[in-house]
């Protein structure tokens, strides 16, 4: 079957790729675009490791069919730092030891960014619920929540 | 003489003895001596046991020194996560 041509903006760059219609955005990003920062932890929207922003909305790339994003703007973890300068969330995750194995980290960073875009001063409870779609098995979430709190503080102070 | 203790599971091989005294300078020599006393035990100790010498647990401890005052326990091998 002929493959579908998709034109998108990924992390600020116009990006085109060919895909099967049944391919997920996640696999298209990983296999066709070569961005492997988003991970597949479940393939069913239950773990959040594949979280990306599509037109400024956080979503699980595993639940999006690749052709859906034609004309969309996509942000992955690879696009979070600005010309090599880390996003405050990235910096706070590093400084706060908010990762152990690191497989869930890209998804958490994107989800946390989506939260802080909407709500610059979230409570601990709001952070916990906003990140409930991202599973982490290593940290018990404690240091992740603290890192997001710290990043929110820094971003508000800027 | 080193004091050698057997767990309950090993006592099938020692005729029910829980403890023996053995003259040996290394774990390997100790096992050789035990094999002479309890034929068949050597293979089990080599394959399925780690050893504690004075409270310190070793795996693959063949040449670990044993002294006359040592207390030696053979333990079942276990796996970590």
């Amino acid at each position: 079957m002929a493959r579908t041509h998709v034109t998108t903006v990924v992390n600020g760059d116009e990006t085109e790729f060919l895909t099967d219609d049944s391919t997920s955005l996640l696999n298209a990003l990983r296999d066709e675009v070569g961005l492997t920062g988003a991970k597949e932890g479940c393939g069913t929207g239950d773990c959040g490791a594949c979280s990306v922003m599509v037109d400024d909305k956080v979503t699980c790339a595993c639940l999006v069919f690749a052709p859906e994003v034609d004309g969309s703007t996509i942000l992955t973890v690879e696009g979070l730092a600005d010309s090599g300068e880390l996003h405050p969330l990235q910096q706070c995750f590093l400084e706060g030891a908010a990762l152990q194995c690191g497989i869930c980290t890209p998804g958490f960073l994107i989800s946390a960014k989506a939260l802080l875009d909407k709500n610059p001063d979230p409570t601990e409870t709001e952070i916990r619920y906003a990140l409930a779609g991202n599973l982490c098995r290593c940290t018990g979430y404690d240091k992740i929540i603290r890192a997001v709190q710290e990043a929110a503080r820094e971003m508000r102070d800027q | 003489m080193a004091q050698v203790h057997f767990s309950a599971g090993l006592r099938d091989l020692t005729g029910g003895l829980a403890q023996v005294e053995v003259e040996a300078t290394t774990v390997r020599r100790l096992v050789v001596a035990l094999e002479e006393m309890f034929p068949g035990i050597g293979e089990h100790l080599n394959e399925a046991s780690s050893v504690a010498i004075d409270g310190e647990i070793f795996t693959d401890a063949d040449y670990e020194p044993v002294s006359n005052s040592s207390e030696v326990h053979f333990l079942d091998i276990f796996q970590g996560g």
């Binding site: 492997t36 018990g140 | 767990s7 310190e56």
Partner: protein, 750 residues
Amino acid sequence: MAITEENPGYKWVGTRPIRPDGLEKVTGKAQFGADLMLPGMLFGKVVRSPHAHARIISIDTTAAEAMVGVKAVITGSDFPDLAANGAHPSEIDVANNTIAREKVLYEGHVVAAVAATTREQAEAAAKAVEVTYEILPHVLTVDEAMADDAPLLHEGMITKGVDPAPEEASNVASKILHERGDLDQGFGEADVVVEREFTTKPVHQGYIEPHAAVADANSDGRAHIWCSSQGHFQMRAYSASVLGISPGMLKVTAAEIGGGFGGKTVIYLEPLAVRLSQRAGRPVKLVMDRDEVFRATGPTSGTRIKVKMGVAKDGKITAAEVWMAYEAGAYAGSPVGAAGMTAIACYDIPNFVVEGYDVVCNKPRVAAYRAPGAPMAAFAVESVLDELARDIGMDPIDIRLANAAVEGTQASYGPKFPRIGFVETLEAIKDHPNYTADLGPNQGRGIAAGFWFNAGMMSSATVHINENGTATVVTGSPDIGGSRQSMALMAAEELGIPYESIKAVVADTETVGFNDVTGGSRVTLATGAAVVDACRLIIEDLRARAAKTWDVELDQVEWVDGQAQHVEGAQPPLSMKDLAAKSGRTGGPISANASLNSRGVGAGFSTQLCDVEVDPETGVTRVVRYLTAQDAGRAISPDYVEGQMQGGVVQGIGWALSEEYIHDSDGVMENPGFLDYRIPVASDLPMIDCAIVEVPNPAHPYGVRGVGEVGIVPPMAAVGNAINDALDVRMTDLPMSPVKVLEALNEQRD
């Protein structure tokens, strides 16, 4: 929080800098198992049994082989018959678990694998492999497996550890026994005796990264494997064994690993990927789906455990009797041995019998999971101890203090304990404000303790001094939770150069000496000791070079603060940078290797305090406050020590409240996904308060004990004891789900 000894002036050990591999992991650059793409790479897919127990009558691969894009199809017959080669039974089990031969023993057992140009083609081809089965009756639990007329998984399995050996085969692989004193006398001395029976379900390690392996085989028989595992040397050994080749034919590169918790110390995909690559003549990637991870990889055992314990009025435990049966899954090897050794190891008990059984059943073969075997036993023992404390009106910390193992106590598993920090963890809980914090309505507080051996085993490290005086620390221990940082911190401390000047890397199997798996809480201890040894060799070398430079005797040179100093100050110091810059003139590159079989393992203890709130109308339990105190020996990297403590606790909370394998009556797993296999999410939890206790391990250069595992031992009992404190119901079956809690409350109301 240093309890017994202050930090003796360390500059780097005990600090919290940014981890060496952090940047790659927050920017998406880190390469995990599934991230590698090679030119010409094929995608593989595994064919799995839909049946819990069946004989394979035939496998027809012709339709699959004929499909577009399909380059290779393999089955069990593509692998050597290890039994015929006289291999050790445990190796044969590994091979048969990797790909089934005569029989499938659980739903998800591999029967074949395919490789094709695209994922979709591979998936279609896997569906086209036709397997004919003769379905056999199955057993799913220890009760079913131990029943008199139970169908057998392995026809020739004779129970080990029973004298005389049974004549009949059974599903019981082995029996373990520990005993001391006189049980009748002990119970006779008791003022209160409590007897309870507990059950637990298999639970999965739940790492977020599914297993993944890429193999690239050459026509000369050599192959390169990239995989995420807890030990690439182990993967090399297992793969070589299953493939029937020499380990030297395989090079294994450790990808970053997305969690393991013991579940990635075993092998699943690697030999399949190699064989597919050999058949296809192209690189092959195999990645599991999440449901394959649940159906076919390492849960830990479901169990049935009976505990009877007696105490005198003064709180002294007079006797303990423990009977336990652990599911091994399809092949012998449940962690019942460790369970038997750890069950009552926290306490000095004069009279006890601990008896355990390793039982095979038609579920995936269990794999190590954080302190394997210990948590279920602790759930049972610590629950009973809680009840005993209530019955005699004693504080739950005080009853544990009254019986606590200390230095010199004859451990229940045999030897005398060296210096240990159990009492200090109990005191740390007692001294913490959480211990006396107010509780609201329907809230309760629970305490529990746990023990784990920790491990040493074999490690190698190489340290290179670069030409500008910076250092590269090379080990072969995959970094799951920040071990590169602890390696770099110890190297910085030893060499006296800044942490930032040190790069810690994990090398492949051909670039560094052998390392055992990253498991058993051993890496900071054992690989750390190898790093320390290598650094000390470097310093000896540097002192010799300085002596040569100054034309003085070696004993005139000491190494202080990262530089060679003349003991009498007769020469201006030579810094690491100075010596590195001139290394060509003083003997060539500066480098050292150290390899060891670790000594001085220090046992770990954890005591935990949990506050819950239970909804009495729905049975829903929420953890509202949590404190964990754990003896780290020395926290080289406190951030990641806390991370291990917190992570272990939360896995335990999941085990306590919501995680379980659910099988239907056909032996098919009903919840092979994160929707219904419920690991805790962020909104389920409070912050996890940590009290790091430091009772240095006298046998380690920095006092390290190992921190990865013991944290998961107490939580189930801590949660259960808290539920009991809240509503006076004793939960004995994990998970303590809303359904079960409400049932218990209904019974109480009736």
